[in-house]
């Protein structure tokens, strides 16, 4: 059908002329498409944002946890499963941190290639004494980057390994974890039972021989959007495959633990046996020693008594000998005394002889002196003598004198020799006497020394014997104490053995108590933050279906009204055109073009505004609940064409509805002014007593209600829509504000909750509760037992 130029001109001029109407339809399309596209895109935009976030941070698709921990064997087995791209073994544990007298519980995660946290501030930990925390941590604890925190030591029973190698950590940065996008951090057995924050440490800092979690990423997962049914099916399919090897791995881990334990028990048993044997031999040896000691003591006693006897005998002999020697010496001394007296007499005689000789000698000496003097006189005379005769006579005389002197000299010598002989005789006699005396004295002293030596030996021997006896006594006591010691050692040994046996039995029991491993195969939906996020996107999606319907309905009604008015206004023109020979398609085209243009222009503007504005407004609200690094807004062709299509159907449909009704009429009818709707009698008129009382204007009103049914219906629908929207708003407010009273007045009646340690005994518990009951202000105490569990779909 060829579009007629003049008619087209008319159409555009019409738009110009009635631009207000055109804009009102355009605005309806704008609002309708904007709301529809914007609201509908909000949910995909949110999903898109988390999808991008999760892909960027390499977030897991499947998570596996086990009651007995996970090993490298598990990782290897999982790597072989179809569709599995990467398998990561990681660690996480809850830890207590004390800051400012406050006790907070933190999830301690390790930095890995999977679920990488986003660094917001500072730097990532590079060694084992550094950590990064979430922003709330800094706000909640008042710490800053650069401060240090200390993880409290674990109070684990039996386990001697600490989770962290280094417990004093320096905060070096702030991160956001893709695992915790909501405020929910999970529950714990520590502290208040609620995990407050999460922190990340270096993987090197973890001290564990098993992984606490295994995270799996799937191949080709970039093809699927998270949360989509295709993604979920893909994950589910892989989960089924993991499910298939689950039991085998569970058993393997269980067996591994059992084997380990058994091996340890066997080792312990062996050790126990050798120890037992060692102990027994040691005890035996000790006993033997004691017995030996006892025998030695008996022998020693015998020896000592025999030694004593022989010593006594010897000493008696020695004493007798000494006695004999003493008597001999005494006799010798007596004899010597007699000899001495005799010798004294001899000496006196010799002394007399000597003094006789001495006087003879003196005479001689005098004679010599006289001679010498005579000689000296003769000599002087010689020198004075003048004649030779005198000299010869004097020399004669001198010679005679000298011969006399010679005789004298010879006599002197013989006398002197006699004196010397006598002296010698006395001296030798004296010497002899002295010698004899000395001999006796020597014998005496010898005897004395012998006596002393004997005494000494005697003392010594007796002392030795006494000390030997003492020693023996000490040994005896020692042996006695050794015996008691042995007794206690034996008793100790027995109890120890019993204890060890008990322990072995316990250990064996424990081995049989080892529960079978149980694997939990989870996916993202079990992550609290993620699942509530996805649920929220779903509720927005539901909302985005309901709300635009209202807008579309309003758009349809508004365009219906304005197009009806427009068509009615141009009734005559339509008639004229028809009269001129235009067919109904030509005529309809004008109005369809008119409304289509309004609709498309409005729709395109609307979708561009809506795609930008509404997702952001909605995200603004959800941002209070979720932490995502970036919200992605994108132009969605599907929803834009859908929204435009729907609004087109509504507006152009309404236009077609009005124009079709008109163009059906014959030109003659169209050229006549439209006949007003004829008034009808209404049912109320039959009820005479009411009708009678109505005023004229009231009667007109009542009749008009039935006369203009469409107008009436529109009014009703309009009021209905507005009322329901307002009511829905109030209702929403009402139902939300009644949640709190419902929850905390009708469901929860308690004001305070006290968690008790499970290790308390019944008495301790009762006494504590009794104490509590007496506290002022406590009205009632209800004891309950709470336990968290996991429910799974079968």
């Amino acid at each position: 059908m060829k579009i007629k130029k003049a008619l087209l001109k008319d159409t555009f001029k019409e738009i110009k002329k009635s631009y207000k109407r055109f804009i009102s339809i355009l605005l309806m399309a704008l609002l309708g498409v904007g709301f529809f596209a914007g609201l509908r895109a909000s949910s995909p935009d949110m999903v898109d944002s988390i999808d991008t976030y999760y892909k960027n941070q390499n977030v897991y698709d499947i998570e596996i946890m086990s009651t007995l921990g996970l090993t490298d064997d598990d990782i290897e087995a999982l790597s072989k499963i179809e569709n599995v791209e990467n398998v990561y073994g990681t660690y996480s544990k809850d830890g207590l941190i004390k800051t400012n007298d406050k006790e907070i519980v933190s999830k301690i995660l390790c930095i890995d290639d999977v679920n990488q946290p986003v660094l917001i501030e500072g730097s990532m930990p590079e060694n084992i004494d550094e950590c990064v925390v979430e922003k709330n941590f800094l706000e909640g604890t008042g710490k800053n980057i650069g401060d240090t925190i200390a993880i409290e030591p674990e109070k684990t029973e039996g386990e001697d390994t600490e989770y962290l190698k280094n417990k004093t950590l320096k905060i070096v940065g702030v991160v956001e974890s893709p695992l915790y996008i909501s405020r929910e951090r999970g529950s714990t057995k520590l502290g208040t039972g609620v995990i407050n924050y999460y922190i990340y440490v270096d993987k090197e800092n973890i001290n564990s021989n098993v992984y606490t979690e295994i995270y799996i990423t799937l191949e080709n997962r970039d093809k699927y959007q998270t949360g989509s049914s295709k993604y979920e099916d893909y994950v589910e399919e892989t989960k089924d495959k993991i499910e298939a090897i689950k039991e085998e791995r569970e058993n393997a881990r269980y067996q591994e633990l059992i084997d380990e334990a058994n091996e340890e028990i066997t080792k312990a048993e062996e050790e126990f046996n050798t120890e037992k044997q060692n102990g027994e031999t040691q005890l035996q040896e000790a006993e033997n020693k004691i017995n030996d000691g006892k025998a030695k003591i008996t022998a020693g006693e015998a020896e000592i008594s025999s030694n004593e006897a022989s010593a006594k005998k010897e000493f008696a002999n020695g004493e007798a000998k000494i006695e004999a020697a003493k008597t001999e010496v005494a006799q010798n001394a007596l004899r010597l005394n007699n000899q001495k007296i005799e010798a004294e007499k001899g000496f006196e005689e010799a002394e007399q002889q000597k003094s006789g000789l001495q006087s003879t000698l003196d005479n001689i000496n005098n004679a010599i002196k006289i001679t010498d003097n005579s000689i000296a006189e003769k000599q002087t005379a010689l020198e004075t003598a003048e004649t030779e005769e005198e000299k010869a006579t004097i020399s004669q005389e001198i010679a005679e004198l000298q011969a006399t002197k010679q005789v004298y000299e010879t006599n002197k010598q013989s006398v002197e020799a006699g004196i010397t002989e006598i002296d010698n005789q006395i001296a030798s006699g004296k010497q002899e006497l002295q010698n004899a005396e000395a001999q006796i004295n020597r014998a005496k002293s010898e005897i004395q020394s012998q006596e002393a030596a004997l005494e000494q030996t005697k003392n010594k021997t007796y002392a030795q014997i006494a000390s030997a006896k003492k020693e023996l006594e000490a040994s005896k006591q020692e042996i006695e104490s050794a015996e008691t010691e042995l007794e206690t050692a034996r008793a100790e040994f027995n109890t120890k053995i019993e204890e060890a046996e008990g322990k072995l039995i316990d250990a064996r029991e424990k081995v049989s108590d080892i529960e079978k491993a149980e694997w939990y195969i989870l996916d993202r939906e079990q992550n609290a933050g993620y699942s509530s996020y996805i649920q929220d996107t779903e509720s927005i999606e539901n909302l985005s279906i309901v709300f635009p319907i209202v807008f579309f309905a309003i758009a349809a009604l508004v365009s219906l009204t304005s197009m009806t008015r427009m068509v009615e206004e141009e009734r005559q023109e339509i008639g004229t055109l028809k009269a001129l020979g235009y067919n109904k398609f030509h005529i309809m085209l004008k109005y369809v073009t008119y409304s289509s243009l309004a609709c498309i222009i409005g729709g395109v503007i609307g979708m561009n505004i809506g795609f930008q504005l509404l997702p952001r407004i909605i995200w603004d609200m959800y941002e209070m609940m979720y932490t995502l690094p970036e919200f992605i807004v994108s132009f969605n062709y599907q929803y834009s064409s859908m929204g435009l299509g729907l609004i087109y159907v509504c507006i152009v449909g309404a236009t077609l509805y009005t124009i079709l009704k008109e163009v059906k009429e014959t030109p003659a009818t169209l050229l006549r002014p439209k006949a007003p709707k004829y008034g009808k009698r209404v049912l109320l008129e039959r009820i005479n007593f009411i009708w009678k009382r109505l005023k004229f204007s009231q009667k007109v009103t009542v009749r008009n209600i039935f006369r203009y049914k469409k107008r009436f219906l529109m009014t009703i629908i309009g009021i209905m829509g507005c009322t329901s929207l307002i009511l829905a708003g109030f209702g929403l407010k009402d139902s939300i504000s009644s949640i709190l009273p419902n929850q905390y007045e009708d469901i929860f009646h308690y004001d305070m909750l006290v968690s008790l340690k499970t290790s308390l005994t019944t008495e301790q518990r009762d006494s504590y509760i009794g104490e509590l009951k007496q506290k002022e202000g406590i009205q009632e105490i209800v004891e309950t037992y709470m336990e968290s569990g996991t429910a799974r779909k079968r």
Partner: protein
């Protein structure tokens, strides 16, 4: 057989539960090239007859034959073609499209029919060569009606139907319009039917049809039609 024939034509309207007979067994015939004036009181069925003749309304019973074609039996599509090519209509209130200039209003008609005349020529013919760029609201009533006539005759129709063309005009202007119509009929040898309640202008016609109570009461041929200029009323 006459060029136009109305045979036992009846037309009934339903207004709620009431049936109004607008035409009751009407018969008349018109020859080719005749200038016909239809007179009668209001509600006599003149306009209904004209509408039926112009293919703008259907008949309840009877036959309407125009140039050998029974238009009462035409299908909707053929009826549109008939209106488009065979009929030119002039209304009492001109019915110009307000959004379009004078010439464009003429083009509105010429663009859809085959043997149309040149709109500019036609505008010249009706004496509005220098006003063709004006919008209807910028023209006087007579000028507007002339545009309407130009629009009707530009299609080069077999029949020119005029429903009270002077009804909204003053005496002088009305006379000019009637002259234009009479001249057109004479010059183009066009069959022209003019409805009027002013019986005074009847002498200008070749044939005068008088309507009363939904039927053509009398049909009289005027052998000596008087030019409009000479008619006074």
């Amino acid at each position: 057989m006459a060029y136009i024939e109305f045979k036992n034509v009846c037309k009934e309207y339903k207004m709620g539960e009431i049936i109004i007979k607008a035409l009751n067994n009407t018969n008349f015939s018109i020859e080719k090239g005749e200038l016909v004036v239809v007179v009668g009181p209001s509600g006599a069925g003149k306009t209904t007859a004209l509408n039926i003749l112009g293919g703008m309304d259907s008949v309840t019973s009877g036959d309407v034959i125009v140039d050998g074609k029974n238009i009462s039996k035409l299908k909707n599509k053929e009826l549109i073609k008939y209106r488009r090519e065979d009929i030119g209509f002039v209304f009492q209130f001109y019915n110009l499209v307000q959004n379009l200039t004078a010439i464009e209003n003429v083009e509105l008609a010429t663009q859809i029919c085959k043997d149309s005349l040149n709109p500019d020529d036609v505008m010249g013919k009706v004496g509005l060569a220098d006003r063709k760029k004006n919008f209807p609201s910028q023209l006087s009533g007579g000028e507007q009606q002339r545009v309407a006539i130009a629009r009707a005759i530009a299609k080069n129709p077999k029949l020119l139907l005029c429903d009270e063309p002077t009804g909204a005009l003053d005496y002088k202007t009305g006379k000019q319009i009637l002259k234009l119509l009479q001249d057109t009929a004479r010059k183009e040898n066009m069959t022209v039917i003019i409805i009027t309640h002013n019986a005074a202008i009847a002498p200008m016609a070749d044939k005068i049809i008088r309507f009363k109570n939904g039927t053509a009461e009398s049909i009289e041929s005027n052998q000596n039609p008087i030019p409009v200029e000479n008619i006074e009323w």
